[in-house]
Amino acid sequence: MITSIRRILIGQKVIPICTIILGILFIITMLAPLIAPNDPIAVNLAYKLQPPSWEFPLGTDHLGRCNLSRLLFGGRISLGFAMLIFISSLTIGLIIGTFSGYKGGWVDQVLMRFCDGVMAFPSLILILGLVGIFGPGLQQVILALMLVQWVYYARMFRGMVLSLKEQNFIAAAKISGSSQWKIIKNHIIPNVLPPLVVMGTLEMGWAIMDISAMSFLGLGVQPPTPEWGAMIHEGKSYIRTNPELMLYPGLMIMLVIVTFNLLGEALSERYGVKRRS
């Protein structure tokens, strides 16, 4: 039985299934303001710690707030900002990486040594250090994450630029008179896309893990804003009586990270891309 589960998982179906799951999650969390049953920050102590009901489909927390709504809005923050971090660190990495690869020489060496240093050092400690300087808060955490993540993309893009410089088909395309834009479209992008997508999915998973970890520690999102990590932090006092306060947000985090990781692995196997461990 396990073998057949493996076969399904490793088969072609993984990628579409994961993408669909993530797509659904993105959509419902982004639509949170429209579909959430209640206001996620409305406090009403009278309804404190209630079991699931029609009004509160997943029950309420210790301040009488709707769990489901908080989950949805929390997802909006986690996923939304993970997206933001991905796009911005990608952009920074793209600019610096291509510049470094193009320039070469000592500029390249210095930049890459710097990136190596940052990559080698445990990221959470760097982020915490940065948050320590900037102070606690969601914006600071996002900024810190961006500052740490761009190096991975920079290295990747720089490597690509270097190998593309060597490749013959660029020269051949130039000789045959293709316009610059065509070269980019037909030659560069198909080479760039697979590793980028693989790295992106895995990095998104990490970003969500980091955002929720920081919020859990109390350093990211500040109350009363809902966020999965923060919800776990708040729910921990009720572990004996109402463990579901911690269970739901944790499950969501896991669901998202597992899906991203599965997708990333399947993609990297499919397109033969190396992952950073």
Partner: protein
């Protein structure tokens, strides 16, 4: 061999200088004036006079380069300044808390190696067996589960429901179990996978065939020949991921109220206790560099090719 060690230790120095530079710079990057933060924490009204005096005390009115040099001098004397919060020397506070973190870290590392080596070994040797599938599942979920959540799940089942282990705090070996497991799981996930891959690769190598043709027992080939070579990437991985261990202690200590350096670091961030933050980052960087060195040394011992080649290159 000796030259190698010396050379490596020498290479630590530039990194160290860089870390000191960053530390000095951190103060300036912070939107908060350290003198002001200190005074506020000490509940002293920061008038301009007192502020200027404090800044002079902290050496903040000196040129940047002088500050940098001072920082280095102080670090060499293990003088990291005074905690804003407790008013005691940072180093004393840190030393007081490091043993707890060490205990947790070593316990987890021990557990991780204890589980990963046999698990990874048998997963590789008996590919596609039940053990193999189990290890791959474990590797996958172990890497995906957030450790703070895992900690609470374990607490819920083993402390609250089954009352086997205490919920938090430090003291007996029972206190060590759940935190160690929480910290060890992501490590196990990684090392098991590394070892398994390495073993699978080695199974294809010619030396395995040659050993078989010589009539060596299969068990000996697996346990002695292959394992000794295959374990090398895992050890490299161990060294490179000491960072994960360090990061993990921060979270695990918070979840289990473990009185270690990691939890103290988080408190310092909340309190804007900058000297502590600086100290932590420096200590983390140093530990990191040292552990890489240790890993290299172990590698040299296990695989004689590396040490001889290093020697020959000089």
């Amino acid at each position: 061999m000796g030259t190698f060690i010396i050379k490596r230790i020498m290479s630590i120095i530039p990194v160290f200088l860089l870390a000191a530079l960053l530390t000095t710079g951190m103060i300036h990057l912070s939107p908060v004036d350290p003198a002001e933060a200190y005074l506020t924490a000490a509940h002293i009204e920061p008038t301009d006079e007192i502020l200027a005096q404090k800044r002079h005390e902290f050496g903040l009115d000196q040129p940047f380069f002088m500050q940098y040099v001072n920082t280095i001098k102080k670090i060499c004397q293990l003088d990291f300044g005074i905690s804003y919060v407790s008013n005691k020397p940072v180093w004393d506070e840190v030393i007081h808390r490091i043993p707890a973190t060490l205990q947790l870290a070593l316990g987890s590392l021990f557990l991780a190696v204890l589980v990963s080596v046999p698990l990874g070994f048998f997963a590789g040797v008996k590919k596609n067996s039940a053990i193999d599938h189990f290890s791959r599942l474990l590797s996958f979920f172990g890497a995906s589960i957030p450790s703070f959540w895992l900690g609470y799940i374990l607490i819920f089942f083993f402390s609250v429901k089954m009352d086997l282990f205490p919920v938090e705090g430090i003291g007996t070996w029972q206190h060590l179990v759940l935190p160690s497991v929480t910290l060890a799981l992501p490590l196990i996930a990684m090392y098991t996978r590394l070892l398994r891959t390495s073993i699978l690769e080695n199974l294809q190598e010619p030396y395995v065939l040659f050993a078989r043709t010589r009539g060596i027992k299969e068990k000996t080939i697996m346990a002695k020949h292959i394992l000794r070579i295959a374990i090398s990437p895992m050890i490299t991985g161990l060294g490179m991921n000491l960072g994960k261990l360090l990061t993990g202690t921060i979270i695990v200590e918070t979840v289990f109220s473990w009185p270690g350096f990691g939890r103290y670091f988080i408190e310092a961030i909340f309190n804007r206790d900058i000297p502590i933050i600086q100290c932590y980052v420096l200590v983390a960087a140093s530990l990191f560099i040292l552990s890489n060195l240790m890993v290299d040394l172990i590698q040299m011992y296990i695989d004689p090719r590396i040490s001889r080649k290093e020697g020959q290159q000089r």
